[in-house]
Symmetry: D3
Subunit: 166 residues, 6 copies
């Protein structure tokens, strides 16, 4: 059993981006998540008749709180200070779904895409949790970045999937 | 400015389920998430050529770690001890996607659905984070419960959306 | 500079209670906190006119979430699994105050007093946070244990300060 | 079952303050909490005879650590970096109480009131935890902001309740 | 660019041990860490003259608190409830070092080795933090498991490195 | 039972350093940890034959994630935002050990020594956790600061223990 050693670190190398020399600039990121459910569940959410309580408010708080802790969840995500986190919920009767749009802002050396995506995802998961006793088959769809601005890479906007024609 | 007061707690009432008198039984929950991406990104993940490093391993660790902390994210979710968390990743060439299947187990008074869903979601978000510099337009789809067993409500299995025909 | 050494650990000794040999029994703890405010603030909370949003629901969620994480805050508190956490809010017109009563349950080897107290405290702090832009002078009063049951020490109930004559 | 949908987000709307465009300035916040106890408990704390160990040091550490994590507890509180957190404990023989005064500083776009209040509260809760085996009836009183400075709203100081005449 | 896909999950496969079917038994784990320092630093710790304050008490609290959160730090570590955590500090004049011995107990399906090791490590790191302004060159040595009992694998005790002849 | 009270806070005084008036400057800290093991364990890690999976990648992720949360573990450590965290692993055949070198960067008012040390320590503990079923006797050695730069105290470099002759 002999072998010669070198850095094992070549394959499977995990690398956090070094943002030390980047400037603090205002960054905004917007993300989407859609919770698909049956008609009755949507109705109960709207009428605030879900047994566990106010679904939208709970989901909103959960999403905002998760946004602040994104770097604890996503391994290579930098820990940053958010200056704003907002989540909007749109009930879509035609599609039996709730559309979740999160907007996160910061003045940091890196963008807040993961924070926006995490906010939308955890808000969606919370809707699931609040309603799962009446509808286990809910599906969370289309978690994606809608838009980002700030930083060197500038403005980016999703074109094919706008929040209106999902 | 006079008014009569009663419990404000009637509307918007948030209610955690009381599981004090439930039995500890073995619970299993399985959840799905699918990350849709362009062909090139999938190829780079497969060939381990993504700059940030080994995408699948990082996503798996992130998902397992998130499962253990689900109750910190989901407001009305009980804090429970997991006895197992496993995440499987299947690369689907035809669909340009990665399918994530999480399985979580515990011996508790409540099920582990939220833990399984959180594991799959955070694994998916981590894939996004690892690859976002090459592909911002990735979309996370079909986060849903696949199966659960244990507890009073017994066995439940999703029928319309199996992991094979997503 | 010579000295003889022995265990430095004699003075200032921190000691976590060893509960290894205790039985799991059902434990209930009830705690109180009162937020004293001016009349206008109370009115705005009641009418849901506070700019930051639904004060009571946010405070309730914050309190429940904090209860689950009590052992991260209180150094010698054991980490336990809660089976229930509930917080009630009573608006007291005569005293210009909101009374917060938390009830926490578990089946563990130790009681949930600290969890109930933490739930009430964080709910109270959240009320402060939601309303501080309109009233910085709010005061949180009478955080205390109201009642506990379960465990070897049995049932205990506060007598001099009932939640009715605070 | 037909209904027309609009943003459900109108009522119960939770709103984090957007501080993106605010300046970083030096902020100081001072808060108070008072733990009322029986004479014997106070004596034991002073003489370091409490079984669980050094009450004041433990409470101080707990308070400082909690201050750093305030934004994880208070839903709409921004995550900020503290530059200082200090907690002072004054034993009041005449009132059989311990007065806790926390001072928190930062250079951020928002104040540190919630951090100071959380530090004082968790320090007080820790005193309760350390002594609850000898005195369950302790009460935490007068958690309030004493003073704040920095930011657009400038200097604020509580007048009616100074730490000397509580 | 064609390739055939199969489970990518073969190499680099991360696997949490499945403990679902294991019994809850009493587990004890003991771990060691040694902080090597210069004579003057040790003296200041002993005489409680370190500027940041009581080093041993702070290290002890930090170690106990870290033990409770081990599963948040170590990716494949199960989240378990500890029934006891104790840390002892021995000042060794001859070796200019502080010996840290942690003991952790639980009644779970898995052992508490990682909790004991984490407790000792974080206690040692805290000693470093408290004294680093006077001595940056301190070294933490010999973090290792001393003993474990409980569970299927039974009793294990380190023989070559006892805490007496380190 | 009479006594006169003054600030109890004199002895055992815990003091966080006040960094409010310090400048944000680029800070770099480098730390070391060495995991000593038997030959067979080292071989299995190298060949990726450890049952729990890819040891090095898991340890690296754990270390990076822990670095971001250092201030939650170390009581008097300021919470800061890291701009980079990197961990290198060198397999040393001759010494049957793995050398872990962490590098952490930030632009803050205080250095990142504790973050670098925590990253190296948690990476080492994770290696232990991944391999403990095959080798309980592993020892973590020589956790220490290798180098730091930035801030008023300027550049510091360990001389007696370089990473090459450990």
């Amino acid at each position: 059993m002999t072998w010669d050693f070198s850095h094992i670190d070549k394959k499977g190398n995990i690398r956090m981006v070094d943002i030390t020399s980047k400037e603090n600039t205002e960054r905004i990121a917007k993300a989407l998540a859609i919770v698909q459910m049956n008609r009755e569940t949507l109705f109960k959410i709207k009428e605030n008749e879900v047994k566990k309580g106010d679904v939208i408010t709970t989901a909103k708080i959960a999403g905002i709180m998760a946004a602040k802790r994104t770097s604890e969840l996503i391994p290579l995500c930098h820990n940053i200070n958010l200056t704003h986190a907002e989540i909007e919920f749109i009930l879509r009767e035609e599609q039996n779904s709730i559309e979740i749009i999160s907007t996160v802002k910061c003045r940091e050396k890196t963008g807040a895409e993961m924070e926006a995506l995490t906010a939308a995802s955890v808000a969606a998961l919370t809707i699931y949790d609040m309603c799962k006793s009446i509808d286990k088959s809910m599906v969370i769809e289309k978690i994606c970045l809608l838009e980002k601005s700030g930083g060197k890479s500038g403005h980016w906007k999703r074109n094919e999937l706008s929040s209106d024609n999902t």
